[in-house]
Amino acid sequence: MTMQHLLINVSDLTVEFDKGFRCSNINWQLFPGQHWMICGSNGAGKSALAAILTGAGDIDGGYITGVPERIGVVSFEAQAELIEAERRKDDADILDVIAEGTPAGEIIAQVCKDQTLADKLCEQFGLTPLLDRAFRKLSTGETRKVMLIRALTSKPQLLILDEPFEGLDAASLAALQQHLLSLASHIPMVIVLNRLDQCPEFVTHIAFMQDGKLTQQIARDDHDAYQQLTQLMHLKTTQLTLPPTDIDHTLPELDPAKPLVQLKSAAVKYTDTVIFKDLDWTINRGEHWQLTGPNGSGKTALLSLITGDHPQCYVNDIFVFGFKRGSGESIWQIKQFIGYVSTALQWEYTVGTSLRNVIISGFYDSIGLYSKYTDNQRDIANQWLEVLGMRDRADETFTSQSYGDQRLLLIARAMVKHPPLLILDEPCLGLDDMNRQQVLSLIELICARSDSTVLYVNHHAEDKIVGVENYLALDSL
């Protein structure tokens, strides 16, 4: 088999754009026969990546080769540029008559190399009656159509389409999609789209941008990766609201004047080792904390003093949610206020129950579901599955899900009752990059949209969570 020759090669490229935005260390290879879709959340650098192919921005390192000469570009930037140019032309012509500006038909003709096609597309887009009208007098949707026709009729060797479907009426959309399909056999395309479900059939590869970095490149026919990406996009880009809590089972009121958690001179000791000692810690409502420390410094032991999972919580001076530990309270009275996620929990959660039941079990703080739940709780669990992009898998078994999906489900389980305290013990541990991004997206959503106080444990500095501002570092003793 002969190696197919490379079309475009982007190698360790760093590009700086006007407003200080950077795309860094991009490695990307486009081969003939491929069509790429670029996706990512707003501001992630989707359009910037596409624009790099047209030579936009200043190269700050690396190189790009193989970009063909004739590129058809459709984007808001290109559209805005053309409109701006038209306006400047008007200003420049100091005439005593008010200039009408260049007619749309002429704008198309400037670059058109296939008049028959242009006529056909104008007809299909309903643009024919408007061709004599000044370009800058057209509506946004109409100028977009003009841009599309320019790009498509310029005999391009590469098409770069940034949100080409945005603002098109149904008939034009259908016509465009059909036309693109007919081009797919001979013109490579790079399409920026906000939503994966708009991804045209012929697209073979998907690039995912995050913070100016090209973090994922997946082949369309890699079903697992595609499904994960769908979920990530869903978490990143959909206007998600967190499902409500269960109004029939509200938690007891907490005294707002008292801290959620207060440890005084806390210690965990075994016969011959001291894990930590003399630790004072107060967590007030609304103060999100990050707990760091090397392996073995006792992060998990400390958390389990709070959750009541550590038996030595009974010999420490611990005040949690209005209870002095060891004063006759039961562990379930403590746990009701806490949502908890950890790798250990995931290992223990080996119950062959459905995804929905796993989420419902969060109402009961149980591993597995042993209580009769209400219809309302079921509804809420379904809404969480919606948030996770797993609604269609509600009845599948938990243990058959991927590791990353299990983690997302356990976070939803922890959140389902809107706990005053949400404890995330190394929530990204053991996850690959894609899953890590999903988990972090979900946590950020929770930090931003809920009243839970978040206690986040992580020793990876890069997994920072927006909104966490207090830090406690445990040293190894």
Binding site: D309, P311, G328, S330, E348, V351, N357, I367, G368
Partner: protein, 491 residues
């Protein structure tokens, strides 16, 4: 010499006590742990049951501390570490027993007479003494001071499970009883219920039983199907495979993990489900083998039950206790010397289904043992619910211990009483199955049927399926598992 309590009763009383067994509904536990709130619970012994029950009770908001024999405290033995590292107060009998409202005797059964004799004089007037097994009361006829309430709360699982299930928010099936001779204030039942709630048992199902029914069924289950049958089966199956030229490493692994794998199927759908995991021809084969073994072994099961009922078993065993466990230790050493114990398992993987396909005889042994134990217990007057817990329910739990470290692990995990009974059974059962084993070939143990077609006669298959499904252990099993899964999944 002690008097067997059961034997002091009239036949009418014996039957009444044996037949005591009622599945309690969740709503009978609505008072939670109230009856024990604010009371001081002192546990004697911090071993498998002691530690784990104590952890649960404390997490349920109850006041728990431990008392150990003075040597254990002085030498900082494991039991002392268990209690102190978990943040419990530990004290001597003199320090803690007089303060106790409830004393939980969780020492080995063999020590009960000595332990109870030393703590009883220290106990508060009107306090409660509780057990997790009735051997001391029933078989040794221990007499408890009249002012004391005597109850039993017996989890039907190893201590580690008692804790693990509680932590999950669930519990393990539990049997409770009040010793009617010692219920001066009529509060025994309320205390036992609260105790069961404190350990989480109420969520998984509580049987209201009697000391006698608990002991007679517990002993029967552990010596026959639970430990005895698995030991005998392991030894016979291994030797047969070697004789048939199966690789010893493979044979060793097939048995070590085979019991666990095939009995796991029991948990979900009883004997029916276990049998359904076999191909149709294999199922019919296993069925026939099981029927044959049941006929051969029935007299042995009857003998075990009879010896338990008459007290002959405990008398024999207590004689060995008095003789420094000579028999027990000798048999334990013999077990360690068997070819099966000494042959390491292969590293090669055996798939889950292969354990069924190549372990047809093992499946047949489990079926025969479970059904026979159940049939024998129920015909001796033990109620089906109890008989189910002591046979089918516990089989996978014991099989897990063999998977860990073969027979050694099983015998060191179970109580001395169970171990003693297990060896008794094994010594009788191995020769009993001698002729039967002569006709066994590797097709039913080690190599699989290796049929070219899996066709069977429809009429025969229907007959076999009906016989499996209609066994009485299946009916009570599905009801009791239903109670559990009712709460466990509600899918």
């Amino acid at each position: 010499m002690s008097t067997n309590y059961f034997n002091t009763l009239s036949l009418r009383e014996q039957l009444e006590q044996l037949g005591k067994c009622r599945f309690m509904h969740l709503d009978e536990f609505s008072d939670g742990v109230d009856a024990l709130k604010g009371k001081k619970m002192v546990v004697i012994g911090c071993g498998a049951q002691g530690l784990n029950q104590g952890l649960n009770l404390r997490d349920s908001g109850l006041d728990v501390s431990y008392t150990l024999r003075a040597e254990a405290i002085a030498e900082k033995r494991q039991s002392w570490k268990n209690a102190t590292e978990n943040g419990f107060t530990v004290g001597t009998y003199e320090e803690l027993i007089p303060t106790a409202d409830v004393v939980l005797n969780l020492t080995p059964d063999k020590q009960h007479t000595a332990v109870v004799n030393s703590v009883m004089p220290l106990m508060k007037e009107g306090a409660c003494l509780s057990y997790s097994h009735g051997f001391n009361i029933v078989e040794e006829g221990m007499q408890i001071r009249d002012d004391l309430t005597v109850i039993m709360v017996a989890p039907k699982c190893p201590g580690s499970e008692v804790r693990a299930e509680y932590v999950r928010g669930f519990g393990v099936p539990t049997l409770i009883a009040v010793h009617e001779n010692n219920d001066p204030k009529g509060e025994g039942l309320a205390l036992a219920k609260a105790y069961a709630v404190g350990t989480g048992g109420h969520k998984a199902g509580v049987l209201m039983s009697s000391f006698i029914a608990e002991v007679k069924s517990d002993l029967m289950g552990e010596q026959t199907i639970l430990c005895g049958m698995l030991q005998t089966g392991s030894l016979l199956c291994f030797d047969k495979m070697i004789e048939e030229g199966i690789d010893p490493g493979y044979a060793s692994k097939l048995i070590q993990y085979g019991w666990e794998t095939v009995t796991e199927a029991l948990k979900y759908g009883g004997v029916t489900n276990m049998m359904d995991r076999l191909s149709n021809p294999a199922k019919i084969k296993a069925f026939d083998l099981a029927e044959e073994m049941k006929d051969i072994m029935r007299p042995l099961y009857n003998k075990h039950q009879d010896d338990i009922m008459t007290g002959k078993f405990s008398e024999t065993m207590m004689a060995d206790w008095a003789n420094d466990d000579k028999e027990l230790l000798g048999w334990r050493a013999d077990t360690a010397e068997t070819a099966y114990e000494k042959t390491p398992a292969t590293e090669d993987e055996i798939t889950e289904q292969e354990y069924f396909d190549n372990g047809i005889l093992m499946v047949a042994m489990v079926k025969a043992g479970v059904e026979l134990a159940f049939e024998t217990m129920t015909s001796a007057g033990i109620i089906a619910d109890s008989a189910y817990y002591e046979s089918l329910h516990e089989t996978p739990l014991i099989a897990n211990t063999i998977a860990r470290k073969k027979l050694y692990e099983m015998n060191s995990t179970i109580s001395d009483t169970a171990e003693y009974g297990c060896y008794l059974y094994n010594h009788a059962c191995v020769p009993l199955l001698g002729d039967f084993m002569k006709n066994i070939k590797s097709d039913v143990i080690g190599a699989g049927l290796q049929l070219n077609h899996t066709g069977v006669d429809n009429a025969r298959l229907i007959e076999v399926n009906d016989a499996i499904r209609n066994h009485p252990v299946e009916a009570i099993g599905s009801t009791l598992r239903g109670y559990m899964s009712d709460m466990k999944k509600i899918v």
